[in-house]
Symmetry: C2
Subunit: 293 residues, 2 copies
């Protein structure tokens, strides 16, 4: 199937991400029928009111029956069960993907539960916010953000092309990695900052933190993210997460040694390296228009 | 001396902080003569152009001669020398303070170099930005931010009252601590996040970081701060800094163990604790009008 042949897309799970996918589809492909699934009446009502989908179902068989593309946008912990529910009701030509923040387990579940009869290809659109719920959905949520596709040897090229075109049409910068590599990299650049922000909050007293400035608040911002979503992510990528935390601990042990020894030269090296490296990161992201100048 | 008797204030060091003090003084005390010192011609010219002071000197004796209040706003590493230069030229009734981010060493230098003849009381106005230079000075930089005064047993009540009134007039929330307590608390809520942000950048590859999202960028924002300023701060508070890093390492070791054991219950506890604690922090700061609602 090609991108211009898509007629019906089903979004399973209508939160901030699922809702934003719906709005973004409508912006570029107004002819596509957008079907939504949620098991909660209040979410289905809100989704229709916010017009993130054209119609909603409270059961998976009906929701996926006519879909050319099914997008799992519920918490990772629900994927396995949902894939099992939909397996028998999907069209042979359908493609299934997800928007989960880890990829090894979703891809394994997808290939197992759909038994290779229907194509599963993992996607990780790296967009979001601390806000939750379909009422915060935005058509421009994906603009300029990265989307990582995680094909395996079993994935058809046509499926990679379809989803690559799909996310690009929604405004994203698409790249590919294996599920394993994805989870390793994400543990370092996404899951690690999250547990770190939580650890920094947890090792401090509230009274002392009341004196903190903007720097501390920014450094810990993501610790305010939803605990349930992050539990799923960390559980699904626990061993890579533990390895990433280990890397950081070793780096901090070096810093601690440098401070204990009052080694001015090494402190300057450490600070300067970080300053230059982050500035290079910001400059490159500006050049690629990922950040405003 | 009382706040309404202040006639002349000298700001030593005309960067973002010193310049902002000058602009903020003019906003509330337009009658006060603002004198600036910088050893660089280009800084003196910029300071006059930005009108952060009324006149500038390139030598300490002239700059402090008529001052009722002297404010050190240069890097901490320069304090000891500057205090020595001004000691013989200050009026007997003058009060000297600083805006440094550590307090044990500045207070020790102040009391030693001014030999108790002139009052020294440390201040830490907790405001700033990653921007540097007098051209970024703002009259409202201090609005709603905390300022910690660090009196010792030798400090006169009248001096505490003067500086408390001064920073409050500039828009700040003033509190008091001993220099020791200040440095311990700041190591945890300010210096620790800084080395942590640097460590997170330093333990990651640039290519992988190119995929990062807004969360990572926020968590590491302060690593872009000026290395020279932070070298001074970390060197002046190295042992408290090392202890704070140690606390965080122990917290991260607990997290690592939890991930290795895939202990879902503990992961949820850790995430939920951090989420609730940070939300409480934000709510309290909003109630105190430190943050917009």
């Amino acid at each position: 199937m090609k991108i211009n042949e898509l007629e019906s897309v089903t979004i399973v799970g209508l939160g901030l991400l699922g809702g934003s996918v719906g709005l973004a589809i409508d912006r570029v492909f107004p002819h596509i029928k957008r079907v939504g699934f949620s098991h909660r009446q209040v979410t289905r009502d809100k989704a229709l009111e916010a017009e993130v989908v054209d119609l909603v179902y409270n059961n998976i068989p009906e929701a996926v029956r006519d879909a050319d593309l099914v997008i799992l946008a519920s918490p990772i912990g629900t994927f396995s069960d949902l894939l099992g529910q939909m397996a028998e009701h999907l069209r042979d030509t359908a493609v299934v993907t997800d928007v989960g923040s880890t990829k090894v387990l979703p891809v394994r579940w997808g290939q197992k539960k759909l038994k290779g009869k229907v194509e599963f290809l993992g996607s990780h659109p790296m967009a979001g916010s601390e806000q939750r719920g379909v009422e915060f959905a935005r058509a421009d949520l994906f603009d300029g953000a990265h989307c990582i596709l995680t094909p395996t040897e079993a994935t058809k090229n046509s499926t990679v092309k379809l989803l690559s075109d799909f996310w690009e049409a929604l405004g994203m910068l698409v790249c590919q990695m294996s599920p394993n590599e994805h989870d390793k990299v994400l543990a370092r650049i996404s899951h690690l900052p999250h547990v770190l922000a939580a650890a920094l909050i947890n090792c401090n007293d509230l009274e002392q933190m009341m004196l903190c400035g903007k720097g501390f608040l920014d450094t810990t911002r993501i610790a305010s993210g939803p605990a349930g979503v992050w539990r799923d992510i960390l559980m699904a990528n626990a061993s890579n997460g533990a390895a990433a935390v280990g890397r950081l601990i070793r780096e901090l042990q070096k810093v601690q040694k440098t401070l204990k020894e009052k080694d001015e030269k090494k402190i300057v090296q450490m600070l300067t390296k970080a300053q230059l490296k982050r500035n290079e990161l910001i400059e490159k992201k500006m050049l690629r228009k990922e950040l405003p100048e």
